[in-house]
Amino acid sequence: MSQDLNLPGSVSTPEIQSDWQAGRLSMQGDSYPENSFDLFSQVIDWVEAFLERESRPLALALELVYLNTSSVKAMMDIFDLLEDAHQAGREVDVVWHYDPRNDRIAELAEEFKEDCTFPFAIRPREVPA
């Protein structure tokens, strides 16, 4: 896909970057967009296209903080795509970074991880002292 995603993010939307060549997708920040369908359909389309057209591994790097309900649903959809790909023998993985001062986020990431059989790491981000 020629069109990589590079969304700058705002108060209510996460920053999103994709790198087709490297097989990487990253998302950071809060997500409570006015129209979550518009935002996440781009991401879901990108993931679907990558998994369909490439056979290389796909890595997701997340650092999401607050998610509203429709964003939670969209993330579950993305993890489902990864799970299906993994079941079909593809190499996929997720690393979810969180601020160690807010370990509630780690608990939430754990909730997402449940039912996922692909590698899914939840790591505290290193905070400058």
């Binding site: 649903k73 509630r104 939430l108 909730e111 039912d115």
Partner: protein
């Protein structure tokens, strides 16, 4: 087909095949009946097979639908659970912000914002019950000297000690906050001026005895207070202004004292 049916059919077939029976008057009719029966039997078997096939595919569909439904339910539950937890998180964040925006960051006492809010409630309550309430402004005398001599960090620590002492000396319904630099506002619900006077005198005594941890045998502070009773239908801001103005003029007359409104 049962064994008895099978045996009967075999018997008929054998009888029909025998040369001796060929000219029997029933031979032709029985032979046709026999073949008709075989045809009907085949049709019945085909029919049963088709019906079974339909049933099996319906069952597979049902199974698949149930599986999908289970999956959707699980997903829905997971979604609700996660969304609820995010909502809790947001709620906690709001509470923390609300708390932070209504507290003085140094002493942890209520700031002006919170004092004003609390005062409005106290007034409403006092008017509803027809009970008096009093206000006291407590000001630490010559606090600037502490800052000048021991530095601002030590001054800050002293303010924390003073604030804690003030807060712990109050009754359950009383309320205090940091009004300004070294000025504390104390709200005494259900308290008239006479009761307030003895309360605040005790408070100032307590502050005077306090070790501020500035140096061994370090300085003690004195406090000046001004107390006033809220006048019926008076705006709480005016009550505070009276207390504040009187405190200023009282300080000019000398410190370490308690003053009352006329």
């Amino acid at each position: 087909m049962s064994t008895r049916d099978r045996a009967l059919l075999d018997e008929v077939e054998t009888l029909l095949a025998m040369e001796a029976h060929r000219d029997h008057p029933l031979h032709s009719a029985l032979s046709r009946l026999y073949h008709r029966h075989l045809e009907q039997r085949d049709r019945l078997e085909r029919l049963v097979n088709i019906a079974d096939g339909f049933q099996q595919s319906a069952q597979q569909d049902l199974h698949q639908t149930r599986h999908q439904l289970d999956r959707q339910l699980r997903r829905q539950r997971k979604l609700s659970r996660i969304a609820d937890r995010y909502q809790d998180l947001l709620h906690e964040r709001n509470q923390a912000l609300e708390d932070a925006s209504s507290r003085d960051p140094l002493t942890g006492l209520a700031n002006r914002r919170r004092i004003n809010r609390q005062l409005k409630r106290t007034i409403a309550e006092s008017e509803r019950r027809g009970r008096p309430f009093s206000l006291a402004m407590v000001d630490i005398d010559h606090f600037k000297r502490i800052n000048d001599r021991y530095g601002h960090a030590a001054g800050d620590r002293a303010l924390i000690v003073l604030a804690q002492a003030l807060e712990s000396a109050l009754r359950v319904d009383d309320f205090c906050g940091r009004w300004g630099g070294e000025e504390f506002l104390v709200v005494l619900p259900n308290t008239d001026l006479v009761q307030a006077e003895s309360m605040v005198t005790r408070l100032c005594d307590r502050l005077r005895d306090l070790d501020l941890g500035l140096a061994p045998d370090g300085p003690r502070v004195t406090a000046s207070g001004f107390i006033t009773e809220h006048r019926p239908r008076e705006d709480y801001r005016d009550t505070i202004r009276r207390a504040d103005r009187a405190l200023l003029s009282a300080k000019r007359d000398g410190r370490d004292r308690l003053y009352q409104a006329e």
